[in-house]
Symmetry: D2
């Protein structure tokens, strides 16, 4: 916390602010400048609640400084977190990119298998599909629920892809935890702290999407909620933010990727399907996401987007996804990453358990 005084603040006003800071139990550090004095505050364990400092005579502005994230920070763990899975070479955060693909919503066994067969053949190691859909309207299709989860677990059995699916409350999280391999927390729930804590008590990896208007700090603090409960296997995901721009459904903020990588050891993916909301922009933005350094992609694919019960407008046809994979594979090579080719992601010995390098890194 830094208190900036007005240019003509008197020495008495500066003293009064310093005394107030000390009275609150902190230490005050006065820094006289050419034009005005600033006062640093230390001794705090987390963020200082500025209380009434800004109202004191002579005070111009109060600027927060200390960020209170700890477990997500590279200060805590310098090397990248890599999340791996038993029986597969797929990882989040490793040298290979994580490709998560599938329909927006699971609509039927036939639909799920048709998409799964195609995305698996194109190289996806993770299958995504919604069983619980957070829809803006209560009258829109809300997902098949547990039946959807069962279908996805059959997809895993059939194709060996790991399952990523969203939980929207405690009840669905219990079921997602039981059936799926990765628990997704959606953008609308990024600050549903009760759900984050519940996910933090799970042993399954958590894929956390950025909220529609979340700052980098809020996004990392949401991950901190999960980690503070003991689950260190968190995967972040940029999916576009709300802006005035109206040529895409959201504005995909790719600068977040290097910004996260500077501050945190957690892997970060990009979802260009939701990030743009337009089919014809998914492939170019996928190339850009890999080029900027993302650890993977979430892509919506549907065999018959016209008939999709949700998000048909942004779902790729399987052939388009195949072409996308071909393009990102080449981009990945330039940034020293790999994307699995057809058939490449075969099973690895089953005794390799789920592990988080953060956990491993601890004594």
């Amino acid at each position: 916390m830094l208190v900036v005084m007005k240019a003509h603040a008197t020495p008495e006003q500066v003293s009064a602010v310093c005394n107030k800071i000390e009275a609150l139990g902190y230490r005050a550090h006065s820094i006289p400048g050419a034009e005005r004095t600033a006062i640093g505050i230390t001794g705090n364990k987390g963020e200082v609640e500025p209380g009434t400092l800004e109202e004191m005579p002579g005070v111009q502005e109060v600027i927060p400084v200390t960020k209170s994230y700890k477990l997500v920070s590279r200060d805590m763990k310098a090397e990248n977190t890599v999340i791996s899975f038993p029986g597969t070479a797929a990882t989040f955060g490793g040298p290979g990119l994580a490709i998560v693909a599938g329909p927006c919503a699971i609509e039927s066994r036939e639909q799920a298998f048709a998409v799964a067969e195609r995305v698996h053949r194109s190289g996806a190691q993770f299958f995504r599909g919604g069983a619980y859909k957070p829809r803006t309207s209560p009258y829109s299709f809300q997902g098949l629920g547990e039946e959807g989860l069962r279908i996805m677990s059959e997809v895993r059995d059939q194709f060996g892809m790991k399952i990523v699916t969203e939980a929207i409350d405690h009840e669905s999280l219990d079921l997602v935890e039981k059936y799926a391999d990765v628990i997704q927390i959606g953008a609308r729930n990024m600050q549903n702290f009760s759900l984050l804590k519940r996910a933090g008590r799970s042993r399954k990896p958590v894929l956390l999407k950025r909220g529609m208007s979340a700052t980098l700090e809020e996004f990392l603090m949401a991950a901190e909620y999960v980690m503070s409960e003991g689950n260190y296997k968190v995967i972040l995901c940029e999916r576009g933010v709300r802006t005035f721009a109206d040529h895409t459904r959201n504005t995909l903020d790719l600068s977040l990727i290097p910004a996260v990588q500077r501050l945190s050891h957690l892997p970060i993916l990009v979802d260009p399907s939701h990030g743009t909301g337009k089919r014809n922009k998914v492939t170019p933005l996928s190339r850009a996401s890999v080029a900027v350094g993302a650890d993977g992609l979430l892509i919506e694919v549907h065999c018959d987007p016209d008939k999709a019960l949700s998000d048909g407008m942004q779902s790729l046809y399987p052939d388009q996804f195949d072409e996308l994979m071909s393009q990102v594979r080449q981009i990945a090579a330039v940034v020293n990453r790999t994307v699995p080719a057809i058939g490449e992601h075969a099973r690895v010995p089953a005794n390799r358990g789920v592990s988080s390098s953060l956990r491993a890194a601890q004594p």
Copy 2:
């Protein structure tokens, strides 16, 4: 849904789009213009999923038209919804403004009673205070939980103010429903649809805050979630949105008030404490909120903001709240509303039950 064709789209392309629309089960209405053709889509029950229309040859743009809110709409119910309470003259949506005041968080019995005594004396009919606090950081004070709810119910017994407090998940909602008079759903949970549905199954009124980047339509659709489960007693609340502007914590969007009132019959309040995040801006924006036509105010008040465990920076001192009430009372008179003066909100006969005029209005 409206499909806008490119200027040079051929008649065959227009036909193909029309055929596609018909094949999807809708009706297509071609509107030839001087420069380009537009095609209207009707026959849909809710929003049309545009699927691949935008990708078809000759298509310039697809513009959604139909909004799917029903119960929140003035189309459904022309007169304003008024929510009243047994044993009090206080309402949401009536001619008297609803003044909801209290500390950000309940910290102790002493703190709560000290604030309650003062805001009651100044004319507040509703007491607010957080027992469950959604905090950005997991290391910040998270609220007293059920103990906080018990303290607030004592405040009600002592002062006759009705209690408004936030529920953050199903578990806390069960308790809030038991102890409080109005269930608040916070901005971060505005699209926590599972929680909205649960609130919709309650018989207590629901105060729903606008999400930080929610459009008017999304806000109304969130209210629709509550109403679609049978609870018609919804109170909306503007609390500021996320923008680039950095002189306040959020940007208070007062134009939302007349916009809501044009489309919906639901009452709408303003929370200038969160809306600005700065104590010195709460009173001017409270005056503006009443002047623009809001049905009431949510104001944070604390007897010792310096020691507040949360949001001290935006909490008013009781004397400031008293002054605020005096000012808004005069503004209210100009817009033909009233604000209770000291002692005015005495008990009314206890047999006047909770009622919603929407329910009453139905056959």
Copy 3:
């Protein structure tokens, strides 16, 4: 400028940053904290260019602190600036509110006089109308140019209202300066620094509108450009900012009014016509603007909005403007301001020249 070090920054890294700061000619102030060290920078005359500090080992973040506005600041001049005009009691920044009304564009002598007659009768002291229109499309009506200015000067002769009109480049500014009483700089030109400097060399007051995405600091710095050239008669005007919200054309940011009044001595108006872009929201937001403490209003009025060559959608009918004046007059009384009633703004003795209290306040 404040440099925040990482939690595990070494003493050597802290020293290196301090040495770098000193090498750049500033003074470094190390502030060791419980978790991390911050380093304050002083000795700078304006903003420090942070150069490569953020790239140095151990550096977490660089936070700018010093604002470089001077002449606009209350640090420089504590009392409010009041801008008055010869031959009239109207002011910007005085106890009476400044009401500026008229059509978006001057379309003809008949149209201008018809509107002028009505707004004058309702109490407006200033007549606005565009002779040079900054239109998004080159094919839209661009204004009558000098002919429009001539018409407005006839309006002044006839009704005694002072003329406010926009200049869009040096050429039009020369003419606006010649014909009008107040030179308006529009939102799109708020950072057209060349035009700001030219306006600063004028002796006519300058009404400066906030840019569509200007921060408070940028807005004040734009005013500083005008003042730094010697023209201290600057009037600020909030007119809405760009956000994701789509229920109004812009989002009117009324919290800017108290924020400006805290930092600056300059008068500040609100333009709810552009700020909302919707006729039915102009009156409620006008009430709110006066209630929040604005020094006046800019209102678009047209006798036949359907036929308006621009902005017909947001222009009030004269009868609506009359009603608006009646409402804001009552709100003004609550905040100890006045709004002239019919016939009240008669001529005052002509020998009272234009004066700025800032100029007067200087030795």
Copy 4:
């Protein structure tokens, strides 16, 4: 324009709206739907001014449809515009990417030549540098003016790079036109329509940067201003937009690239230096820009960023630029574009004049 009626609008209300539309000189097309009626408007030459339609009884909403850009549109010209230069193989919009590099501001002959020598060696075909700097503060360095232009023309003579530099008003545009090869219009002047028209009367190519909160449509309309005056050689440039996000100075909106390419034939570049404002994010976002399909890059390079008089925080060191070029060269290959290697951009026969394929495409 589309008028959406309320659900319960009466046939009389629908008729009244249709009659009003006809009275305004347009044609009305009523489209009855399951829930409500929509009315299409045709017969307009450009945008319809909706006037008072939204206020009529039974009207829910008025939705604008027709966009009025013409010359920028692919409707007008299907093939990409390629802008080439005499005496060089460099183009904007051709298969080779345009690399524009140099310091933010020209500070001295020595500084300019030092940077020019390095960026030329790394493969840049265009040299950028500001002679006229639009600075937020009037007290910041404002550029060397004509002296800066002279230095840049010497850089061209020495290295053969074409010169790109910003004009901020008519006066500086006269000089930029005389000395430089490409006239840059900065983000702050994107809607300085007077300056756009002046640039449209030049025969030199115009590089137009997107305004900080410009929609795609406004951006294209700004280009239309230039083209409507006869200059078809316009190059667009994305440079980040204003959002709530605070981890970068602006939010780079890469989805704009495919969106522009869908609607317009004009080339579009990306400026990741201003788009991020942080040195450590320039290279990753440059890779992403090329991957998404941009036609080139603007990069700030300075030999001693610590001493830079402006934007030192985002300027690359020459070695970093060299590395950037190496990386984007590989990305370019994946998207079938090329980036010149060292020495590759030697002179081509001088008789190949500036040409715009748009001009060539016309009869």
